[in-house]
Symmetry: C2
Amino acid sequence: MDAPLYLQLAQRLSQHIAQGTFAPGEQFPSVRQLMKTHQISMSTAVQVCHTLEDWGLLQARPRSGYYVDAAPRAGLSRASEALPTRRLTQPDSFTGLHATIARWLDLLEATPPRINFMTGVGAPELYPTAALQRLAASALRQHPEVMTQMTRRYGHPDFLAVLAKRAATRGMQLRADQITVTNGAIEALTLALRALCQPGDTVAVESPTFYGALQALEALGLRPLELPTSPSTGLSVEALAMALDDPRTPIRALLCMPTLHNPLGCTMPDAHKRAVLQLCGEHGVPIIEDDIYADMGAAASHCQPIKAMDETGLVIHCSSLNKSLAPGMRIGWMSAGRWQARVEMLKYSQSRFPEELGQIVLARFLASKSHDRYLRRLQQDLRERRQALADEVARCFGDQVKLTPPDGGLFLWLELPAGVSAMQLGHDALARGIHIAPGPLFSGQPRMDRFVRLSAGMASRADITDGMRSLSELMAQQLQPPGGGAMH
Amino acid sequence: MDAPLYLQLAQRLSQHIAQGTFAPGEQFPSVRQLMKTHQISMSTAVQVCHTLEDWGLLQARPRSGYYVDAAPRAGLSRASEALPTRRLTQPDSFTGLHATIARWLDLLEATPPRINFMTGVGAPELYPTAALQRLAASALRQHPEVMTQMTRRYGHPDFLAVLAKRAATRGMQLRADQITVTNGAIEALTLALRALCQPGDTVAVESPTFYGALQALEALGLRPLELPTSPSTGLSVEALAMALDDPRTPIRALLCMPTLHNPLGCTMPDAHKRAVLQLCGEHGVPIIEDDIYADMGAAASHCQPIKAMDETGLVIHCSSLNKSLAPGMRIGWMSAGRWQARVEMLKYSQSRFPEELGQIVLARFLASKSHDRYLRRLQQDLRERRQALADEVARCFGDQVKLTPPDGGLFLWLELPAGVSAMQLGHDALARGIHIAPGPLFSGQPRMDRFVRLSAGMASRADITDGMRSLSELMAQQLQPPGGGAMH
């Protein structure tokens, strides 16, 4: 299968740029000119420009168009030559932020990682594979009919009962019948957004935020309003207050990750959580709380979600065990407060209710003592992994990179020095078989190209040493382009 | 937990009707009057009226409002007293056709069936429970990591490969990378509709059609345009042609079930399938083909889906094994032609990709000789079940009921004599522990209250004898109300 048209054209044009047909600093043909010259659709032309921009060859200037980057970086298009047969970035896909994210995911899939700082789950040895396998084998023996009898509405009763109990340990008073099982937390987010919003509505989000949330918004025709978010205390309460008061941007919902934020790794102080709930309550703005990492930080597992502070059903709480227990299972759940009935109806009409074998397995594991032991070990392992990665970052980058120690979870969020492009660093790292997550995946704001998310979940000690040395070399190359040679 | 407000109020008002506070034939208070009198929201008031209408106590007259039924039927509200704690008909749900469907499903759930003619799957003994269980146990041993490693994009490669091979046996030339696994066919339908339509768009559907499709349309803010559909040849090609030519109703997509239609049980002749494809092609209207029952009829399993005739990628083909092999599994798939990329992006953003254990099990079973043997036996069993039910219908109802012999599948579609309400029959049957599917579940058109869908999947021979005798008694009661006594 040939590469899609936009990619072929982007590669051709990148050669023209490399050869100087388009000089550095020169204005690049407009979308309309590209459409005419190459007889392509507007969406293809837009994708071409986005791609060249992602490759660091073009710069967008507001109200003026694209300009050839003053210091074009050769070699970027190489990484895109070996795209897999099937990808999220085919023509006819969406072309907003989704295009940036999908292009990155497709590139990564085309180049299996030698060293993986990208994937948002832990290494296989962190998870209780054997215990889950035993439970599944036993559940299969006891419930041979589990594959041939219709699934129950809302979820398996045992699993719902365990979830309600676990909710109580985090301060949420929920009955089993106030919880609905979903296909992962991502379906819970989509259902919450479908329940609350119409296409065109604005949803306030943290900036940066989980790229899956941004894709879900885009796929539903919703507009993200990105609010400043601190790497140590999370969402800015002041910014939220300002946005809620601004009549120009009526906010239909707030989607946020107050506990062990992805990508920032921080947990909002309880006082901030309360302030957010109060503000949203005053403005009648529902809160969609994505709470999937809480089990991955010792402190965080005892800290309360906003849902626990909510007495009026304003919060739609979404979670899953995909990160913290079983990355192969697509089992999440949600408790939607005032919108529970609407969410259940949407869930029923969207995909019915999940298979039961996995729910039985999870219900048994969560109810067992093994689960507590497992969590303690997981939290300890992750702490060590985060620390090892942070130590190596400090050793290799010194003061050049800013890093706020995360409160738990998998991620470190690095601020790169001025003059370094995270997207460029990502492409260069990819050429060495190293996967990282550049900041532009997590936000539509250009300033995010100064940030990188590193996952501590997958990399071994050796990977960390090797990977950080490579990244620091690649960063030095950007700060000191080959041929610049001032240091020599 | 108390019954929801609308139900409490509907029950109170039904007593007033029974007591004559509102006389037969009298105009019933309007929605606005109900809102004011009872201090309730509009959606509650609408639900109250719908409920009373469903109970046969009110009649809606276009542009005029609700009138107390001239012959109110007492006792209907009894069935609703024991609603389960949680239901699809809570306040804040949708209130269109979904309300009718959800109310029926909730009532059924509150009264477990003594005799089941409702459920659209076969009895447990029809399915290869033991074989699937053995395959699952073996897959678990060979792939212990299946629950703790991230699922692959698009689906498990073995399963996709088997699906592509099976597609070829039905005349569809598909590569594995043109198929995407979904959470059942119902998610495939939702994804297809999301890929093609915006809220407010009109989608042409068969009348009657699968209620899940109507719920999916309603949940996405889409309008069904119901096209006449024959119980022997399916969708009317003439009606489709007329609708496509009508500029007042721009049709965004056609959603249809050309093979072993639910609820009609018929398969469109190949010539009609070709004509539908041609017409839609000429008008640029994509076709969403729901093809989940093909394996359940001997002839049908060899007949081609419209997708097999499609050379331009106009057809989005959706299927699953939930009905024909494993009702406990939520694994469907779709092949979306021109919209494949868009569908994959929506699938990724909506719920990622399904768990792999079930896909491995199904891939192995489908590739085995057991599968062919299983299908032959299933088709034979279903033929006998349909025949036994049809024979008993003929014996009990004679000429009073019209029945077109189905081409396969699970369902018989009965046309009741004038003067009999299917919804009423459904409520009366429910009071005797018999579950049936009244016509109004499958269409927004009032004339559907003359039809009933009976599933032959679950009922034993004894159930059939017992159930048909009860239904014929209940029908006689409607035709000859107690106290009328003309026969005596």
